[in-house]
Each structure stands twice: as C-alpha cells, then as structure tokens.
Amino acid sequence: MDDTKKDIDVINQYTGEKWYYTDIVKDHFFHPRNLLMEKPKDENEFDARGMVGSPACGDMMEMWMKVEGEKVKELKWKTFGCASAIAATSIYSVMLTENGGLTLDEAMKVRPQDVMKRLGGLPNRKIHCSVLADKAFQKTANDYFRKTGQNSRIVVEGARVIDARLNITDKDIEEAVLEGAANLEEVQQKLKVGVGASDEVKTDIESLIRFYREKYYG
C-alpha cells in the first residue's frame, strides 16, 4: 500500500474490508473549500446552478457557478454524501477556480481521474463519489449555456438503449461499472436482471464495460 494512504480507515460492517483515505482527502473532508454556507436567497446571485444525484448510492450534490468572460470565477457546492464526495468536490472546486479559473471548455475536460490524482487516490468503491462533482458541474455548465442562449454547447449525455427487452441503457452499464462491476456477470448482479440475452447484446455490453472501465479506472 502506498504510504500516502493512511489514517482514517473505515471498516465495512458487512465485509470487514478496510479502506483508507489519504491525508489530502482528510484535509478536504474536515476543511472543505468553496462550500456554500447558505443557499442564495436571490436566484440571480449565481450565473448557474445544477443538482445531481448519484444513482450508485443515492447521494446528492448541488453546485452554483459564477462565470466571468469564459472563466469559472466561483464554484460553490453542497453535498449530501460521504467523506469521499465531500473531499472530491472540494478539490474539484479548487481545481476549476485556482489561478484565475479554468475556461468552461477546459473545465469540462477535467476528468474524475485528475481529481483522484490530486486527492492521492480514493478506494475503488468510492470512485463514483468523485464522478458526482463532475456530473454536477456538467449540469451547472449546461444551465449556464441555456441561460446565455448557447444551446449548441449544451452536452447532454444521452442514454442509449442497449437491451431493449429490459430497457437497459448505456447509463445503467456505466452506473454498474462505477459501482465496481468489472464483467458481464458482475454487471448483471448490480442491475439485478439478466441482461444480454442475445449474443449481439452481450458483445455490445461487454464493449461498454471495457469502455467505462477504461474511462474511470484506466
């Protein structure tokens, strides 16, 4: 184990498995940056707002943004989530606003892995928490584009139906991978349905699993 990973460890009540948080995670967990202390009374206080929920664990994240020129001037947030979610969002907000702020395009390119790197790593099963910040930002950015009439810049992650019989979309697969599933069988376990009845669908799903594994763990 890498020696930055120490201190707070949580022991899972069911499995006894341990996981570790790094000192950076701890610091941001106990002293979150850019936390919005009070929700804005005036809707126009911020230029944009977004709220997302984590389908993995049910946690929620709300984000507020001020934009100056093309740059992220302020990024404030609140979360109903675990230590990883708090720490990851805190550092994410720092990454987007430090040194005068990233441009919106740059900001949208920040990947969950970059956040992970800054945090010195998160336990595997906590990766989905860092993705929450990313998703909340995309939604906030979309809100900004919508409000400023730049509809062409809105990025909607469309859901594509993979298994029509069960109405399973690529989002479901993504979710399962974020929850730790690494192969078809584990995806089936997470989704609690026997996806991939035909060989064609099966191949499709397997390539999606590879794609998302690459995206989040690669």
Binding site: V10, Q13, F30, M61, E62, I86
Partner: protein, 495 residues
Amino acid sequence: MKRIYLDYAATTPVDPRVAKAMEPFWNENFGNAGGLYEEGRRAKEALTKSRETITKLIGAKPDEIIFTSGGTESDNLAVFGVANAALQVVARAVVSPSSKSDFGTPKKSDFFPGDLVVGQPSGVKPHIIITKFEHHAVLTPCEQLAKEDFDVTFLDVGENGIVDPEDVRKALRPETVLVSIMYANNEIGTIQPIAEVGKVVKDFRMAKEQILKDLASPTGVSTRNFSAEKYPCLSKFDTETFGKQYPYFHTDACQAAGYLDLNVNNLGVDLMTVNASKIYGPKGVGFLYKRSGVKIKPQIIGGGQEMRMRSGTENIPLIVGLAKAFELAQAEKDSETARLVPLRDYFISEVMKRIPKVVLNGHTTKRLPNNINVSILDIEGEALVLYLDSKGISFSTGSACTSESLDPSHVILALGKPYEFAHSSMRFTLGRSTTKTDIDYVMGELPKTVEWLRIVSPISVDMNASGMSHPEAFAGENLRVKAKSKSYKPDVLLK
C-alpha cells in the same frame, strides 16, 4: 484520546473473566476432544461442561446444542439445514408412492383430491417465512433459496419495527417448512414477539397433526372443518409430504442474549442462534440450539463431531469462552438492563432535545436496553461517523455509503421510510463500560457536528416524508435505491 465506544451491537470486548476461563485451554489443555487419552479426556470434559452450562440456561438437553463458528454459521445451518433436509423429505415423498403403494393399495390422495404434489415441475415448492429486516446471515441464504427450489415470504414489519404474529399466521401454508424471525433486531434493537410467534407455529402444527389423525379415522371430518376455518390453507392438506413436524421455528438471538430470557421452551423455538462476540466472549464461536427430532442437514461434514451436525475439531478455548460469556451475560442481564434502560432513554431524550429533525427508529420501549437508532435528517452517516471518530466516538450508520453493496440499510427501509432516512440513520449501542459521563461527552460533540454537516448538505427532508426528497436530481437515471422501500422485493431476480 479517550475513546468512547458505542458500537456494542457490532461487537464487544472480551470480559476478563471470560479470558481467564479460556486461558488454560490454549496451551495446558490443548488436547483433541476426540482423543481417548488424558489430554483428550480433559478437552472432552471442558466441552461437556460448556455444553451443560448452556443447556441449563436455556432449558435444553445437552445433545441439543451444536457449537459453530458464530452467528452467521448458526443462521446458515438453521436455514440451509432445514431447507436441504426438507428437500430430502420431498424427494422421498415423490419417489415413495409407487414403491409403497403395493399396486392398487389406495393412497390418501385418492380420498382427498387436491393432493400436494411437491418437487415436481408443476408442484408446490417448500415454503419459508422470514421478515424483511432479518440479519443478512438469514436474509441472504433465503434470497438464494428463493432463486432455487423454495418459495420465500418476506414479511413486512410495522413502522415501529415489530412483526405482527398475526401476519405470520396468515403467511403459513401446509408446505411451510421454516419460520425464522430474529429475537431482537441488530440495527434498531426492536424486540420481536417470539413467544407469541412460537405459539402460532405450534398451533399450526397441531392443526396439521389433527388432520393427519383424522385421515386415519373415518369420523374425523368435523375437527378437520374446525381447523380449516382457522387455517383455510389446510382445507386441502391431506398428505404427509410435509408432515406434522413442519414448520420449524428458528430465532436469531445474537443481539438478545445479553438482555433477554432465552429459555427455548418459554419461547417455543425449535432452533436458536447465539454467538459469543456480542456478549463479551471471543469472536468466531457460537451455537445453534436444535430441539431433538428437528431434522437438519449438516453443512460442514467430515469427522462427525457435534452429533454429526457440524464436523471439525472442537475449538475448546473458544467454546469454553462462549459458555462463560453466556453464563455471565444471562446472570447479569437483569442488572445490566436496569442500568442501561435509563441511560438509553437519557441518550434518546437528549438527542431529541438538542438536535432538531431527529426521528427515533423502532419502538420507544420494546427495544434492547442498549440500542439507540436515530435518523438525523439531512446528513449522511459516513461523514458523521468519521467526524465523530476524530473526536474519539465510535458508532455505526445504515448509510449506503458505508455498505459494500452501496445499498442503504434494509432495516430502515423495512420501516417504510425513504432511503434518505437510512442514509441518515445512526446507531449508538451502549455496553458494560458506558457511563452517563460518556453520553454527556457525546452530547457535547454531536449537536455541533450535526449542525456543521447540515450546512454542508443541500437537502432538507420532511420529517414525515414517505418518498425521496429530490427525484429531479436523478432525472434520466435508473435509481435502484428508490425502489427499495417497503415494496422492496429482496433480490429475487426477475425470472
């Protein structure tokens, strides 16, 4: 920093008196209880004594105690043991008619149409009844059985976390082979009416027995009608396939052992699980009480120890520790209860007084003397656990974020609450070392930490909510947790 440990329901430290009792059995008396020589005899004697200690305390006979590796193994042995043995009964019943009926001898089903044809493709599956909030050591085996050859009823519990014996009665079927209900819930501490359920089960068995007797005599019709009125499902019961011995009644008493009466005759149970690690004994040891005559199929086979029900060299030091711990726990249960109930109620009332938006999970008084389980709304459990851990306080949460499956506590959901209540559920369990000073220290830290985490949180859940607070946040998402409330069907795949 002084630690204030408030997770005694997870596990307890080993009582020094227990450790002392175990001491000679690591090195001095290390023998295998199967040996005929001196060392073996000494081990055997310790084993026998331990068994006797336990049997006396629960009103059982010595050959009714099976030592195991703990609560999970005992629960598994009860569930799979009964289930697999029942399947053998079915297999025999399916095979036997031709072999037994001697060409042309009338079978019972010739007199009573609607015979139970079990184990055949179109037949009835053996049936098991448990509650939705059983411990995973019972729940998961039953979920697995439900995917195989069994029908499982997952009973709802009341909003107060107590199962209604009447619901058990209604769920009974002629083919029910097992009813398993925990004595006290491990998360919310609610005490289940085990003795009453025991009566329901016994009553049902007697009705079956009566019917079988009636079948043997030509004049039994009136009794049959009587039973049928009370148990309409028995109106067609006319086979010995699942004979009068079924259903068996099992209770997981791990959490109850330190506080409640465990006399198996008072409780009317056929099987009972107890482990040592919740009663100041060592980890890795427990027992399953099995009333004599109850048929189970052993799950670990080999040398035939424990009356063939559980093979493996007997772990004498742990078994001695278990017996000692159990003896002490039962001896001190009343005084501990008297000491802890006021502390528990003090804790609850202080939390309610000092922190707004707190909901007590489970019945106010019909709960273990050491259990406090509250949903502190709008904050997530793992974050609170880690904040308070840094202040020296240990407790646990039902939040999804701390569970391996990322599913919120099935116990809180079984109470009919939205998943946010589970996310915010905090369990504080007191124990022998807990004092009022400890609780006052917690009350000094808890309210301000909650206040801070509520600043961190974007949500505001309604105290009486029955649905999730911000479904819009999940737009376009396939949110499984949402579905898992009261209507939650445990893991049985869409087949």
